[in-house]
């Protein structure tokens, strides 16, 4: 086991798969000579050559379109969106072509699109978004959002193996801030399985991505009040681990759904509605949501702090549920 940053774990997964399987290649803006905007693929072009680490023009439509075609011809492309925000340019290729292909004609589209996402560093409205809910709504696409280095590696390998298009949301705020033990050998983390980040019995927090750590810190504070909070790290948003969420909801009877994406129509709404439908008789309080307000992400640091759910927001939400 080595201790790796979240970013190193992503690089490790890519390197592992590219060494193992010649069909795997990278394509994206500045992924080659420059090594990627965040240096995820630093040194890859030297090791694997320019035909497997391809610098693309600034055209996300072309990147995802090329990946889709290559995957149908038997390759295993991994595309990088320089920032998740830019994926909107590739919407048509992803939603109209890649997501539908298997349903239309039965051919798999084993592509992975890496999406550096999330805010917390004053990136402003075009470099901070978390668009997973939009894509989770599209049948045919899978969405994963790892929070730990171990899951970052295991989920990326699962995504490359998967026959469906997988959107891999890697949170920029975690890149160098989060370190953890990562097995050196190849392993997979199943898509669609949640992880219990913290065991508890009084309130459940359902979350993913960087919010897992926000929830963990808030849970620690509630512990001092004598309230035991369980944190479920969803890991995959589509498909999502309904059974794990319902089990936790049934155990604690009080649920807080937390995400960094904006509130209205966010994936938290789907989770809250499912709990209300399927665990109604186990609830002891309304299912509560904490999410960003329905605005673009602000540049200004104090405004951004007000926008992204903070530990104290989650603490207040948990105290409200505890006292209900």
């Amino acid at each position: 086991m080595a201790e790796l940053t979240y970013l190193q774990a992503i690089s490790d997964a890519l390197r592992t798969e590219m060494r193992r399987d010649k069909r795997v290649f990278l394509i994206g803006e500045d992924v080659g000579v420059y090594g990627g905007a965040f240096k995820v693929s630093l040194g890859f072009q030297e090791e694997f050559g320019p035909w497997r680490v391809i610098d693309a023009p600034l055209a996300e439509t072309a990147i995802v379109g090329a990946c889709t075609g290559a995957s149908m011809m038997g390759l295993r492309p991994v595309a990088e969106m320089q920032f998740a925000d830019f994926v909107s340019c590739a919407w048509d290729q992803l939603v109209t072509v890649a997501a539908k292909q298997r349903w239309r004609v039965g051919t798999p589209v084993p592509i992975v699109v890496r999406l550096p996402s999330g805010g917390g560093f004053s990136g402003g409205p075009f470099h901070s978004q978390n668009p997973e809910s939009s894509f989770a709504h599209v049948p045919g696409l899978k969405c994963v959002c790892p929070a730990t280095p171990e899951d970052a590696k295991g989920l990326l390998i699962s995504a490359i193996e998967d026959p469906s298009p997988v959107l891999y949301f890697e949170h920029k705020h975690l890149y160098r801030r989060i370190k953890g033990e990562v097995p050196e050998e190849r392993y997979t983390v199943p898509i669609g399985k949640a992880r219990t980040h913290r065991l508890g019995k009084d309130i459940s927090v359902i979350t993913w991505g960087a919010m897992v750590y926000t929830a963990g810190e808030a849970a620690q504070q509630l512990e001092n009040d004598g309230v035991s909070v369980e944190v479920i790290d969803l890991r995959s948003v589509m498909p999502w681990d309904k059974a794990a969420v319902l089990d936790s909801a049934r155990k604690t009877s009080k649920v807080l759904v937390l995400h960094e994406d904006t509130r209205t129509g966010g994936f938290g709404a789907e989770i809250a509605a499912t709990i209300a439908e399927e665990a109604f008789e186990d609830l002891d309080a309304p299912v509560k949501r904490i999410a960003a307000p329905d605005t673009p992400v602000p540049f200004s640091p104090p405004l951004e702090k007000a926008f992204i759910p903070q530990v104290e927001d989650v603490v207040a939400g948990l105290r409200d549920l505890a006292g209900y």
């Binding site: 309080a285 006292g323 209900y324």
Partner: protein, 455 residues
């Protein structure tokens, strides 16, 4: 000429509980022409659950009294009209339906002294007060909100949540509060399920309800609350014994042909269909065929009528893990299934029963039931009929026994044969002993002369 200066408001027979469908006016407290204030008692009514006063839904003149003392009417029937002009009352179309009869609260319930009035917000002018104050039906004694999980635990354990001091917001009973009461086992303050002075004349004899009550543990005893399923089984079993005239007949069946058929089919069924052709499946198949000739065994005594059917909905008793209960899911239209279909149906129901995946429809509409307690070696039993059915078949352990056989020349010899006891427990109100005996004889014939896969 009367000029109506007030809006007409109807007073209707209130709904005093989900199961109450009618009420009797016992006394009018105001006469026609008298003035009345909103919430002032207008009349007294009596239902089979409670006697109560009905408050006036509005202030005004009692214009018309439409139901006289002593009369019994359905819930929702218009009893009187407050305000408006009398002439408009009987014409339903012209009388605007004001909010379709707000159910007044039971008068025994103290209405919480005025909900706190929200502070008027500066820019939002307070709306004009509603003309008729809307009495909100209080769900329970103290009117505190009961969350879904608390309601469920309360009903499972026969606890009245209103009797528990709540620690939640506004004194609400939390899940922890009610679980503490359940775990203490001490005082599940049984809410005597709304049956005060049950002097209802000529009430049909009802099965005694299992009253939830606190049991104090003596030394060495463990006390656990009765689960909802256990309570259901208890009531169902007791009601069946109180309803049907249970008689049990038994027959011994030589299962040689079935044992051979099963051995021949087992591999094919398992490899091709993943289904085990159990002895139960053979018996179920043969019993279903036999029922065609004995419609009363598959029938029902329903009031003054005897109901028979051209189909068999076959109930299979399934034990849930650890003696936690019993459930009887139903194979619908079993008469249309061959041995494979029956075996598949049994396997499917049993696995879904144990995984709690059964749907409500899966356990309804059975016409005949088979129970199979023989797996543990028992060779006889007297099961309880699954009401409202008329009979239940019991299958018991298959054992090798010395058996007298007669050859073509009429010579007797003792052979070793696989013998199964099968019982039919039937309701003697509908099925007589000779009829049941013939049913068992024919069933035995079918099993002893089984051929092939029985299709």
């Amino acid at each position: 000429m009367i000029v109506a200066t007030e809006t007409a408001v109807d007073v209707v027979m209130p709904q005093m509980g989900v199961s109450v469908s009618e009420g009797t006016v016992t006394k009018w407290l105001k006469r026609e022409g008298e003035q009345i204030e909103a919430d002032e008692p207008l009349l007294e009514i009596s239902t089979d659950k409670v006697d109560t006063e009905v408050p006036s839904p509005a202030s005004g003149t009692v214009v018309q009294i439409l139901v006289q003392e002593g009369e019994t009417v359905d819930v929702g029937t218009k009893l009187a009209q407050i305000g408006g002009s009398a002439g408009t009352a009987p014409a339903p179309a012209s009388a605007p339906e004001p909010e379709a009869a707000p159910a007044p609260p039971p008068v025994s319930v103290p209405v919480p002294a005025q909900a706190p009035v929200p502070e008027p917000v500066a820019e939002a002018p307070a709306p004009a007060p509603a003309a008729a104050p809307e009495p909100v039906a209080e769900p329970s004694g103290n009117g505190k909100f009961v969350s879904p999980v608390v309601a469920r635990i309360a009903s499972e354990h026969g606890i009245d949540p209103d009797q528990i001091p709540g620690t939640g917001r506004g004194g609400r009973v939390t899940k922890q509060d009610i679980l503490a009461v359940v775990e203490s086992g001490a005082s599940p303050t049984a809410a005597a399920p709304s049956a005060p002075q049950a002097e209802a004349p000529a009430a049909p004899p009802q099965a005694p309800r299992l009253q939830p009550q606190a049991a104090a543990a003596q030394t060495g005893e463990q006390v656990e609350p009765v689960s909802a399923m256990r309570r259901g089984i208890a009531e169902h079993m007791r009601r069946s014994l109180d309803t049907a005239a249970h008689v049990t007949s038994a027959i011994e069946v030589d299962m040689s042909k079935i044992v051979a058929a099963r051995a021949a089919l087992k591999k094919e069924f398992q490899s091709a269909y993943g289904v085990n052709p159990t002895y139960l499946a053979f018996v179920a198949r043969a019993a279903t065929d036999t029922l065609k000739d004995y419609p009363y065994v598959n029938g029902e005594l329903r009031g003054d009528s005897i109901v028979t059917r051209n189909y068999v909905n076959l109930g299979i008793a399934v034990e849930l893990a650890d003696g936690k209960g019993l459930i009887v899911p139903v194979i619908r239209n079993a008469e249309g299934l061959n041995l494979l279909g029956v075996a598949r149906g049994i396997a499917d129901l049993a696995s879904r029963a144990r995984d709690k995946k059964l749907l409500p429809d899966d356990v309804q509409g059975g016409t005949f039931t088979i129970t199979n307690p023989g797996g543990y070696g028992t060779f006889h039993g007297t099961p309880v009929i699954n009401q409202p059915q008329s009979a239940i078949l019991g299958t018991y352990a298959l054992v090798k026994r010395p058996w007298v056989v007669t050859d073509e020349d009429g010579n007797d010899a003792i052979a070793i044969k696989p013998i199964m006891n099968i019982t039919l427990t039937y309701d003697h109100r509908l099925v007589d002993g000779a009829y049941a005996g013939r049913f068992l004889r024919d069933l035995r014939e079918r099993l002893e002369n089984w051929e092939g896969d029985g299709t």
